[in-house]
């Protein structure tokens, strides 16, 4: 039942850190959904993204954790804060924050949650406690080899997607082309 780890890399207090980080993630998620001021939501989301980067580290994924911090918490959230500063939030803060069909939406989300609970209770044995040899010292190298080898085509499509997104964002946001 114990995870296979390399000698000298014994994880410390895994249980505590898991509950701490996932609790932080979920709490900041609650703050994102409930805060009235979008700036507070954005700051809570940054905290949640950082906590989730910690969870990735616990899952032996240091490269994804770094990408999460640099790209998500550093790049995308700056974009969000920039746009929040650009649009006028004074007026929208005085208005009703939740729409008219909030109860229906909430119930639909709860139904989805019940479905998740059902799946996880019924299919508990589908997720065995086994570790596929965590290769932490060459994780980044392995991901690079896969990105430029097996996933070359998907990588190129992703770059094309980013190009289209850049052009689309400029076309949308510019007043007069």
């Amino acid at each position: 039942m114990q995870p296979i780890v390399q000698p000298g890399m014994q994880p410390v207090a895994t249980t505590f850190f898991f509950y701490f980080l996932s609790g932080l993630t979920l709490l900041s998620g609650v703050f994102v959904v409930t805060r009235k001021n979008p700036v507070h939501s954005a700051l809570a989301l940054i905290l949640g993204l950082l906590a989730q980067a910690g969870l990735y580290l616990m899952l032996y994924a240091p490269f994804v954790a770094g990408v999460q911090i640099i790209l998500y918490a550093g790049g995308i959230m700056v974009l969000f804060l920039f746009v929040i500063m650009l649009v006028n939030i004074e007026r929208s803060q005085k208005e009703e924050q939740f729409n008219k069909q909030w109860l229906v939406g909430f119930l639909a989300a709860v139904a989805l949650g019940a479905l998740f609970v059902l799946v996880y209770v019924k299919g508990k044995t589908l997720f065995p406690y086994r570790i596929a040899q965590p290769i932490e010292n060459s994780n980044t190298q392995q991901i690079g080899v896969m990105l430029y080898g097996q996933y070359m085509f998907a990588f190129e499509i992703a770059s094309l997607l980013l190009l289209v997104a850049i052009i689309g964002a400029v076309v949308m946001a510019k007043k007069r082309i």
Binding site: T14, T15, S22, L26, V32, V33, P38, S41, A42, L45, G48, Q52, L55, Y56, M58, L59, A61, V64, Q68, Y72, L79, F80, V83, L86, V87, N88, R91, S92, E95, E96, F98, N99, Q101, W102, G105, F106, L112, G113, F116, Y120, K124, F127, P128, I131, A132, N139, I143, M146, L147, Y151, A158, L161, L162, A165, I166, G168, A169, M172, A173, K175
Partner: protein, 101 residues
């Protein structure tokens, strides 16, 4: 206490996903709806990375692609938001009804 297995991470990701769905379905502010979509994408990423511990590195590569998609989605979505705000002086989704008959 039980050792932390894959199921723990999956339950955390499911809770995060549901929080994101609640945010998308109930809020009126477009900025917060976009942030809730980021929450949903992050829940998916957590699932992918948790499974990559079981089945090899493919999940982590896929998580990077999902982050790329999130960046593209945020850029285009916020561009649309700026265009919309310029026209109607509001950020509420209820008032996005230009195409409604």
């Amino acid at each position: 206490m039980a050792p932390i297995g894959t199921l723990h991470y999956l339950v955390t990701a499911a809770a995060l996903f549901i929080l994101g769905v609640i945010g998308v379905l109930t809020r009126r502010n477009v900025v917060i709806i976009l942030m809730s979509i980021e929450l949903i994408l992050n829940a998916v990423n957590l699932n992918l990375v948790a499974f990559s511990r079981l089945w090899g590195l493919h999940g982590q590569v896929f998580a990077i692609f999902v982050i790329t998609d999130a960046a593209a989605e945020a850029a285009v979505g916020l561009g649309i938001l700026i265009a919309f705000f310029r026209n109607k002086e509001t950020v509420n989704v209820d008032e996005v009804d230009l195409l409604k008959w």
